[in-house]
């Protein structure tokens, strides 16, 4: 099971099977401004990485989050 999907599923209250690259605040009502902060918090904790404000704000969908985590050396497929 992909670690990043597990984080998203836990925070957004979804099953891992429903997490896909195009998942975004536009098509996922649970991805609101508060959960956006919680997502970044949980990703940093899970992968031991740190994001800047600009990096965090640039995440528009799950695919962006995957690329950002990988760019920080995190292995999102773990």
């Amino acid at each position: 099971m992909e670690k990043l999907k597990t984080v998203f599923a836990a925070v957004l209250g979804m099953s891992v099977e429903n997490i896909h690259d195009d998942l975004s605040p536009d098509n996922c009502p649970a991805w609101d401004s508060l959960n956006a902060i919680i997502l970044i918090t949980e990703i940093e904790k899970a992968f031991g990485v740190k994001f800047t404000f600009d990096e965090a704000m640039a995440v528009k969908n799950f695919g962006d989050a995957t690329k950002l985590v990988e760019s920080k050396g995190g292995k999102s497929h773990e």
Binding site: L34, I37, T41, K45, F51, F53, A56
Partner: protein, 139 residues
């Protein structure tokens, strides 16, 4: 009141205070919240339950966590974003509790901190309420 800024907060920082959960506290909470469930307000009714006495509202603990973050950790610059709660044990009237919090995570991007919060019975050491607070620092 403490005035910690985001930069002054470190992972592992902690704060705590003691609080007596008295009959007056429970009666006042029942009055303002409107939760007058007899388990909280009626001694005779509560004695006949498995608890054998009146139990404080769990959300009194939630109020105490509000004081913890708003006054102690971080204090004035706190913007309370969320709080999880798990009610592990009933708090009976007359219990002296310790409310405590420890910073477990800092997120630079949003200037937020995560605080592990707990309430324990000072006399027995039992952890009665646990949760996590997410707080944004305004400075």
């Amino acid at each position: 009141m403490n005035k910690y800024t985001f930069d002054e907060i470190n992972i592992g920082d902690a704060a705590s205070f003691a609080f007596p959960v008295t009959e007056e506290v429970v009666d006042n909470f029942a009055a303002f919240s409107g939760d007058e469930n007899p388990l909280h307000t009626n001694s005779e009714y509560a004695r006949a339950t498995e608890f054998k006495g009146r139990v404080a509202h769990g959300m009194i603990g939630g109020c105490l966590f509000s004081k913890l973050v708003g006054v102690y950790l971080p204090g004035e610059y706190c913007l309370y974003l969320s709080q999880t709660l798990q009610f592990k044990k009933p708090i009976f009237l007359g219990t002296m509790v310790e409310v405590s919090g420890k910073v477990t995570q800092k997120v630079e991007a949003f200037k937020t901190i995560e605080i592990e919060t707990s309430i324990k019975n000072i006399e027995t050491g039992e952890r009665m309420i646990e949760g996590k607070a997410l707080v944004k620092l305004l400075k």
